[in-house]
Subunit: 295 residues, 2 copies
């Protein structure tokens, strides 16, 4: 396939910097989709989002050790570079940046970025240091690639908010675009970690998007009491003995602070274990106009 | 003076970003001397260091609240913008970036940069959060101004090492140049904070550079035992009842880890109070060749 042949893979920071300078000299803007590989349609939808926003579309593939906790799945995280390159080329990506961990974090590396308040709640409560690792690697990827625009998926909702704040606080010259969560036919949010699920766990996991959709409809129908909604969501998710809820939160979309009354909108975010696999998902809740405080 | 008239002062982040983009479009590089104002020859020597390294030389004047502790001298830090602009213009600086604190740290600001190991020793032991504030504001200033090169003084030795590490760790595309400490006729390192000193304290303070020069000569003459050197330096500084030693350390120049035997070189760094004024200074120690381990 001709598109595959035109995709360039860069494996070192030095080579990427060289290429970035060539692009800058030519006045060409680079758009970046940062990924950890093992790609799915969620990622390729982000590549497509960048069409028309830059002259060169790039994806980075880097399983970032800094964003994994010591007991998390860094070593087992799925990898399939050949398939990833194929998928990216088909989506219209022209460049893959795939550095080594030693090149990104050489001996003596000791700098970390902290986005304080937004890193604390939700996943931050259970994944200490995770968003520090995310923010740091994203800043490095922005700097190494010199991207003018970058795309992230809203499935990792807290990540999207953390990165937006970082870009604002550090005066970074990078436009952000966010892609809607892409879902399987039965609603499960696409995730590289879905590959961990056994057929049985995969069945259980369907209850996660079903419950989020139920909640979305309940709120649209007038259930704007966040506490009651949380209780009901937890009960529904816990009704399947194969699932174990880590958290259910209803938060303000910008600040991630817990909401009491949903008006006009809030984000329902959940983390749920299906067996040993931790899955996250979220949905925007919108109160009906008459209870939104705007009526 | 015509140079004064040609100096442009930019007071907002938005205007600086606009100007940065104009420079970039014109293919012009900007060189930056980040300062907190109340300038002296140490600062103007840094402006001069940038001649020939960029098309536009800029200085920032920003007393950065984030790098001051709650009990430190942020509110009393000396300010004299008119004189600063005059000195900068005379040194060949063409642009002053002088933003407000509210523009640099708007409501909701929550991002901080941490250069872990290098921020801990020396001043870091006594100024908790200081280097986090320094690293964060320097990164912001780099991003806002889009500088290609930046100059820092070696009088703030630990700061120079922290910034060097940050630039490396974050893959920043900024060349760093470092200027030697500029001293008064009697050896005292120039510092905006020298303005705090009473005539009597100013006399006491002479002992600081005298002691550092003594140490430099002692090491050159063969005193390579860092522990004994430290003891002697502390004793000499403490011989004046007007001075109070905060720390005396002999460290590796790159890592700031304490040295036991000076071979081939080390940095002697001190912080000393003259009255209520905290002064820092440092000197490079070089062992004689026959004891340097290279002979």
């Amino acid at each position: 396939m001709s598109k595959v042949q035109s995709l360039r893979v860069i494996r070192s920071v030095a080579e990427m910097v060289k290429y970035r300078r060539q692009l800058a000299s030519a006045g060409k803007r680079l758009g970046l989709v940062p990924t950890m590989g093992y790609l799915h349609q969620g990622h390729t939808s982000l590549v497509k989002l960048l069409h028309g926003k830059c002259e060169v579309i790039a994806a980075s593939i880097f399983v970032n050790p800094m964003q994994f906790g010591p007991k998390e799945d860094f070593t087992h995280y799925p990898r399939d570079m050949a398939r990833d390159v194929q998928l990216l080329a088909e989506a219209g990506c022209e460049l893959v940046f795939n550095p080594s961990a030693g090149d990104m974090y050489p001996n003596g590396f000791q700098t970390a970025l902290e986005v304080a308040e937004l890193s604390q709640p939700l996943c931050g409560r259970f994944r200490s240091g995770h968003f520090r690792g995310v923010a740091t690697v994203v800043l490095k990827l922005f700097n190494v690639t010199g991207c003018s625009v970058a795309a992230f998926g809203l499935k990792d909702y807290q990540q999207s908010v953390v990165i937006k704040q970082m870009v604002c606080d550090l005066n970074l010259d990078v436009d952000l675009v966010f892609g809607q969560t892409v879902r399987e036919a039965d609603g499960l949010a696409m995730s590289s970690r879905n590959s961990y699920l056994s057929p049985e766990e995969r069945q259980w996991a369907r209850l996660i998007p079903q419950t989020l959709m139920w909640a979305r409809e309940a709120v649209a129908a007038g259930q704007v009491n966040a506490g009651r909604l949380k209780t009901e969501v937890e009960a529904r998710l816990s009704s399947d003995p194969g699932l174990k809820v880590q958290y259910v939160e209803v938060v303000y979309p910008e600040t991630l602070i817990p909401v009491e009354v949903i008006a006009p909108s809030a984000v329902l975010a959940v983390a749920v274990f299906a067996g040993k696999t931790r899955l996250i998902d979220n949905v925007l809740l919108e109160a009906p106009l008459e209870t939104s405080g705007r009526a």
